[in-house]
């Protein structure tokens, strides 16, 4: 097996809030393999977006790293200073697209200026060359009439166009890993499909690794090769996309998959059936899913289960005897 491009081990992370310490990430283990589109799925508030931002060191001021390591090609990113992250990793190695395309582009600069800024850093060249590259970048994300688009300000574009500009901007950095944090959540369904197709094609073309964070099972089924299911700050199952839908093992994954048969694929709306996400200030002990679990056993309340391999490329964290 190839060594993973991103390997997060036993990550613990808290936020200090007025009500107390919020344990957002609690012993997270995640391996992302080179060249794959790896899905990270979970409900809102399970810590998946925080995980993405932590890889790049983009913390809010109340963030406390409690332990663990984030290895990128073997280097621990948590031991780097902000300056080292900026110089050596952000952009040129790892880039990130955020949820809200509306506010992710600087409103006072033209698309041209924002693209050119990135090109000057990562693909320096003459002005005419950079211009060609800008047009190529916008063509690559299938944006019509790039010449005219370059002269526009962000507020003159639609949400879907802005998000495609965001891809162009991030790919212009020529990163090896792209973290996409719910990039389609704010978009209409038809625009979503367009966006996902663009991203999929580009991924094949330039052989980039993508960590795709989402709470939409339909999106997962369309784009991902491998999927990690996250629940309350931990990964509960790591599985290939086919196996997730054909033979999910963890009770939570089963719940997700069973519900995706209906028209509602946003898991925020469907898992409410069996109780809500636990509060992460004083969370339940042991396996955090146990209050909602139908297979609950006494040891589930004792300590959290670790990920065990049940088949090649398929890991589950559960005390259930019959792990299949």
């Amino acid at each position: 097996m190839m060594s993973p491009i991103l390997d997060i081990n036993d990550l613990y992370l808290s936020f200090s809030t007025e009500e107390g310490e919020l344990e957002a990430i609690n012993g997270l283990n995640l391996e992302v393999e080179q060249g794959k589109i790896h899905g990270l799925i979970g409900e809102t508030g399970c810590g998946k977006s925080v995980t993405g931002r932590t890889v790049l060191g983009l913390f809010d001021s109340n963030t406390m790293i409690k332990g663990g390591e984030i290895l990128y090609n073997g280097d621990d990113l948590l031991s780097k200073t902000q300056h080292e992250l900026q110089r050596d990793y952000r952009g040129n190695e790892i880039a990130m697209i955020f949820q809200d395309p509306g506010s992710s582009l600087n409103p006072v600069f033209k698309i041209e200026d924002q693209l050119d800024e990135v090109l000057r850093i990562y693909q320096p060249g003459k002005k005419a060359e950079r211009r060609k590259k800008m047009i190529a970048a916008l063509n690559a994300v299938k944006l019509p009439d790039p010449e005219r688009l370059l002269k526009k300000y962000p507020h003159q574009l639609s949400g879907g166009m802005k998000q495609r500009v965001m891809i162009a901007l991030n790919l212009a950095c020529q990163p090896s890993l792209l973290i996409a944090d719910e990039p389609t959540t704010a978009l209409d369904v038809s625009i979503q499909a367009q966006f996902i197709n663009v991203l999929k094609e580009l991924q094949k073309e330039i052989d980039i690794t993508i960590l795709y964070i989402t709470h939409d099972m339909a999106v997962v089924s369309e784009i991902c090769d491998q999927v990690s299911v996250m629940y309350a700050g931990r990964i509960v199952e790591d599985v290939s996309m086919e196996d997730l839908f054909n033979k999910p093992v963890h009770p939570y994954s089963k719940l997700l998959v069973s519900s995706v048969l209906g028209p509602e694929t946003n898991i925020d709306n469907l898992v409410e059936i069996s109780g809500s996400v636990p509060r992460l200030i004083n969370p339940p002990p042991g396996c955090r899913f146990h209050p909602r679990c139908e297979h609950m056993k006494p040891e589930c309340k004792e300590e959290p289960p670790v990920l065990k391999e049940v088949a090649p490329g398929h890991q589950v964290a559960c005390f259930k005897e019959d792990l299949s």
Binding site: Q86, R90, M96, F98, V108, Y153, H155
Partner: protein, 308 residues
């Protein structure tokens, strides 16, 4: 840009200008009693007062008087100074440049200092620099301009003898008045700049620019600052009346021969044609600065400029 917005804005400006001129004109008629006697003083003879009334149309109804005055003003004729016995516009013309020099220099000092401190305080949030910026701003806004002027005059003029204590002899005599006026004003730019920068630095586009590996220095000076400056341009225009107001007392303290000291002397001497003219000119400048700020705002913010 939006035509309706522009038309509306110009209409309001025109209305304000008319209102401002009426107030400047009415100042004289505010007091109980005869304006002619107020101006000439209690020892004037009846005959002189009658002549004065004739000269200044004081026997006509108020609207006619206003009409005569404003027509003159629009032709550049502000009447005659009673005290100096010279045309008002001549007096003001020579006094205008010292005042402009003083207020513009003070404004530049205040903006540079205030913006710098505000930006630094926002970047180093909750550091000692941040607290000092906040507290020094509170001190400045609590100090009356005339007292600060006197303190400067005492320490740097009389005691240390670094600068002249008054008059308008070259650049050195400009230093104390400009600092007395500008330092206080800095507070009004530092705090809004700080909170504006803090707000902008929290925006998603800043995080997304960081994720692209753009240098922190570029993030601050280009991405954040361009956005934070948009509302602060308006702030500069809003502070203009206060800087001009402050300049009046500073001119008195440092014997600076500008419009401010002319105004104070004219008020004390009841030389109302001069008072009316200065009131009108200063408020005119304020109204125009506000209009300019609004227009500039919509030019530098592409979200407003490119609206249809």
């Amino acid at each position: 840009m939006n035509k309706k917005f522009l038309l509306n804005r110009f209409g309001r400006t025109l209305l304000t200008l008319v209102g401002v001129s009426i107030i400047a004109f009415m100042i004289l008629h505010l007091a109980p009693g005869d304006p002619a006697r107020i101006m000439l003083g209690q020892f004037a003879t009846e005959e002189n007062i009658e002549i004065f009334r004739e000269q200044h149309h004081l026997n006509e109804p108020l609207p006619v008087q206003y009409g005569a005055w404003i027509t003159g003003v629009m032709q550049g004729n502000f009447g005659y100074s009673i005290r100096y016995n010279r045309p008002v516009h001549e007096l003001i013309w020579t006094r205008m440049w010292p005042t402009l020099t003083l207020t513009v220099s003070a404004l530049v000092l205040a903006v540079i200092l205030g913006f710098t401190l505000g930006i630094l305080a926002a970047i180093k949030r909750n550091s000692w620099l941040d607290y000092i910026t906040t507290i020094q701003a509170m001190f400045w806004i609590s100090i009356p301009a005339f007292w600060l002027g006197i303190l400067f005059l005492y320490f740097f003029g009389l005691r240390l003898r670094w600068f002249p204590i008054g008059g308008m002899a070259g650049l050195a005599s400009l230093v104390l008045p400009v600092f007395a006026l500008g330092l206080r004003e800095e507070a009004w730019f530092a705090r809004p700049m700080r909170s504006e920068m803090l707000e902008v630095l929290n925006q998603a586009y800043i995080r997304s620019a960081r994720a692209r590996g753009i240098k922190e220095r570029v993030i601050i000076t280009k991405h954040a600052l361009r956005n934070a400056l948009i509302p602060l341009v308006t702030m500069i225009a809003l502070r203009l009346p206060w800087i001009i107001g402050g300049s009046v007392v500073i001119e008195v303290v440092f014997a600076w021969g500008g419009m401010g000291s002319l105004l104070v002397n004219s008020v004390l001497a009841r030389d109302f044609p001069v008072v009316q003219a200065i009131l009108l000119l200063i408020s005119f400048a304020v109204v125009m600065a506000n209009l300019f700020a609004d227009l500039l705002y919509s030019v530098i913010d592409p979200r407003i400029r490119l609206e249809d």
